[in-house]
Amino acid sequence: MSVPSGHGDAIQVGNVRHTYDDLRSVSASIRSQLSVGETALLRTDDAALVAAAFFGLDGWAGAVHLLPAGIDVDIAGTRITWPGQGQIQAGTDDGGAGSDSVTRWVLYTSGTTGVPKEIIHSFESLSRTVSRGANPSVWGLLYDPNRMAGIQVVLQSLLTGSRLVAPPTSDSLNDRVAAFVAGGVNALSATPTVWRRILQSPDAAELRLAQITLGGEIADQTVLDALRHRFPDARIVHVFASTETGAAFSVRDGRAGFPASYLSDPPRGIDLDVRDGILHVYSPGVSVAGADGFASTGDIVEVIDDRVLFRGRASGVVNVGGANVWPEEVEQLLRSHPAVADAVVTAKPNALVGNMLVASVVASPDADRSGLGKVLRAFVREHAPSTHVPASVKVVEELELSGTGKAVRA
């Protein structure tokens, strides 16, 4: 795999611009840092280095471990760094000719237990969701370039000859949105939680988005409608991806969930089935698949009329006074209230009824915060059984985000 044949600027990290020619030189230099079949370690949040490593090391290294900040694993290998000035070879990328081994790309997730879990990919599996026919655009990067969601954006941008604006992940969201405005970004991918924050960002009105992608969490109708309202001309796509099964498909009609017709007419050839209320996909290759090849995604769904809607994770179900409650369902309800910009609901063990829910909400800018907790509890009671009503509703400035841009439910 060599650097795609783009021209001009490829990646802008902070104030530094790298052209496609730069990336070609750097990827060749990175390749010279190790011999064929060796193991490489990549610990960086620099999207340009990740990109150069992809194109320099695929088909050359035996394995490349992408290590996000905060994840510690003990693996022997050569640590890949940005080559010094003198080491960069001028534009002579031969694509690593002489080696046709398949490089293992090893990603890490924090896992629910906090123990890093490795996920092995090939370049092919990482780039499977890239729509190669797409026109060049200007992508913004909001994800860690070491993680699956960030890699998807980096590859989507580079494989279509687009330009990628990648502000440091340590910058505040407002600063990153300002960098996207200044850089002319017109395509952006983020979790629904991050999208809700973008909608609150003062610079968001200046964004000229043509492509909006949501993934990683349930995209509810409230956030889809808010994005449609703010960016009336953008194509809005929400992606369903299951790490357990490797399946992924997208929905483009701006409505939450996916069409029930997908159950009989599979999207992109991915056979779906709802069993005991849990979405299953036909994925015979994976270890969790049953005898008939269908594997559980762990996502609770409900079929309502012509739509399949996501309710939450099967593993996240909470027993409140004998009733099963999905915190995500209560979050969706809270977000549908005009005074709420975002919400996260968690469970607290309780000796009387098993568990109780507690909510943290971010108020909308013009919402009346006094007595908001009481108003919202009454709102939930009006629309859901009393077991769904959070014991307390705390108004917070912002929600805590994980390394993957999801609201932390802890």
């Binding site: 006074g321 309780n350 000796a351 109780m356 507690v358 014991a391």
Partner: protein, 87 residues
């Protein structure tokens, strides 16, 4: 004393919030005779955990079921981590 004040305040706030008549919150008030159901008391215990920093019902080895408000308060006073309890 502080524990009692916090409990009584949280309890009357809850009655008001649930649009229930607020009974006389004296020590001999029988909890089951109020209009608050078991979920309501679970709400109270969760809120008190947030305010006082502990939940005595999750700390006790043998379950205790306080009958009156006075007994309920006594449970909290018994398990209160001295003066170090966050306020």
């Amino acid at each position: 004393m502080k524990t009692r004040v916090t409990i009584v305040a949280a309890l009357s706030a809850l009655f008001e919030e649930e649009d229930l008549p607020v009974p006389a919150l004296s020590d001999d008030l029988v909890l089951l005779e109020t209009d608050l159901d078991s979920l309501g008391y679970a709400v109270l215990v969760t809120r008190l955990d947030e305010e006082l920093g502990f939940d005595p019902f999750s700390m006790m080895e043998e379950p205790v079921y306080p009958v009156t408000l006075g007994e309920f308060v006594a449970v909290y006073e018994r398990f209160a981590p001295d003066d170090t309890a966050p306020t």
